[in-house]
């Protein structure tokens, strides 16, 4: 139905009045709690502007950032709920998790890895991701544009 009215004046007044009463409402989210898959510690998420910012700010605390994106026109868009896997060079699975958002931050021992994301029956893989001491690696997994 078409919106026929919008009383911004009243709204602004009401916003002002309530803001004082509920200071906790717009608290800046931090990273979600760290999870473990075997010996590997990781966090995933990044849905919503505030949480995405938290991930971008704090990705340096982990040595690998995996971003799962989907092509849309000439841009990439964030995804959520892809299945993300990390394999070592022998093919052993070190992580297999459903990413709550576009980001997975992982701490891995130095070495070479491949990463993979599955989303709606499609798979994108990248190999040769080098993790070394004092080095933060970023692996972007980009799905081609979804066909309608």
């Amino acid at each position: 139905m078409k919106r026929l009215f919008s009383n911004l004046g009243t709204l602004t007044a009401a916003l002002g009045a309530v803001t004082m009463l509920v200071p906790a409402f717009a608290a800046e989210p931090s990273l979600p709690p760290e999870q473990h898959f075997g010996a590997v510690g990781y966090v995933s998420g990044g849905v919503g502007e505030l949480q995405a910012k938290a991930f971008e700010k704090q990705m340096g605390k982990f040595n690998l950032t995996i971003e799962v994106l989907e092509r849309a026109g000439r841009r990439d868009e964030f995804t959520a709920n892809s299945e993300v896997k990390i394999m070592d060079r022998l093919g052993h699975e070190l992580l297999d998790t459903k990413a709550a958002g576009p980001f997975v931050l992982v701490d891995l021992p130095a070495g070479k890895y491949s990463v993979e994301a599955d989303l709606a029956g499609r798979t994108v893989k990248r190999s040769g991701i080098q993790i070394g001491a004092g080095h933060h690696a970023v692996a972007k997994l980009e799905f081609p544009a979804a066909t309608d």
Partner: protein, 251 residues
């Protein structure tokens, strides 16, 4: 514009630096069948016809902003002087002398005396719960959600309350589904914090489904500045609260 490595977030972020007010007025919240609708024999007709929400005593419900609360059926034609005098004036201006055609009274189907309980669903509208790309409740949401919490508390017969979160169409389908889930969860958590039993409420995400505004004529989302589209799609960033109420047969 943001630095190049973060270009992919631009779609979700493009308006983050704009003043809040331009994009604020966001969500639509729908509420709930109240006891009044279901206790009377005419529950279904009342829901079909009434433009405003009444409580169990047939008194108009007023929102936190002092206005009446409109039902999903509301149109300017249903405006009443107590709630929306401005629409009455507008209607009068548009058709100053046109005779109102006499329509036959709507045929109300005489329902056969129901032997089974029927379920009545109702949604009401409210606004301003979420900003673009956010699932945190805006401060202004409290007034409306408190009102909803009170209504649910006063109506123990309301069960299977479903909170459905929605997102606009900017962004990938999977992302928007998750965002809409988080919006529904945020509203559920708020209602639970106001004393509603969590067991009574189910929250679901519906992504960009069932849009209220299409905005097909507005450029974006790949447009350099998608602010206009973001503003246009505002009604879609919403949560609907629906309650299904068992209505027993009346004789």
């Amino acid at each position: 514009m943001k630095n190049p490595p973060l270009n992919h977030v631009a779609i979700r972020r493009a308006v983050s630096s704009t003043p809040r007010k331009s994009i604020v007025t966001s969500a639509m919240l729908a509420l709930i069948a109240c006891g009044a609708f279901v206790r009377s024999t005419g529950a279904v007709e009342a829901m079909d016809g009434s433009g405003y929400v009444h409580d169990a005593e047939q008194q108009l419900i007023h929102s936190g902003f002092g206005g009446c609360v409109r039902t999903g059926y509301w149109t300017p034609a249903l405006a009443i002087p107590e709630c929306d005098p401005q629409f009455l004036k507008k209607v009068a201006n548009v058709q100053p002398t046109a005779p109102v055609p006499k329509l036959p009274a709507p045929m109300v189907q005489a329902a056969p005396a129901p032997s089974k309980p029927i379920f009545v669903k109702s949604t009401l509208s409210a606004e301003d719960l979420f900003d673009f790309d956010r699932f945190q409740l805006m401060p202004g949401a409290a007034t409306q959600l408190d009102q909803i919490a009170e209504r649910i508390k006063r109506s123990p017969e309301l069960d299977s309350i479903q909170i459905s979160g929605y997102a606009d169409r900017i962004g990938s389908a999977g992302y928007n589904l998750e965002l809409s889930r988080l919006r529904a969860k945020a509203v559920k958590a708020y209602l639970v914090s106001r004393g509603i039993d969590a067991e009574r409420i189910r929250s679901v995400g519906k992504g960009a489904a069932e849009p209220i505004a299409a905005c097909t004529e507005v450029p974006g989302p790949a447009d350099k500045s998608n602010q206009r589209l973001v503003a246009c799609l505002q009604p879609n960033r919403r949560v609907e609260v629906q309650a299904f109420v068992e209505q027993l047969a009346q004789h």
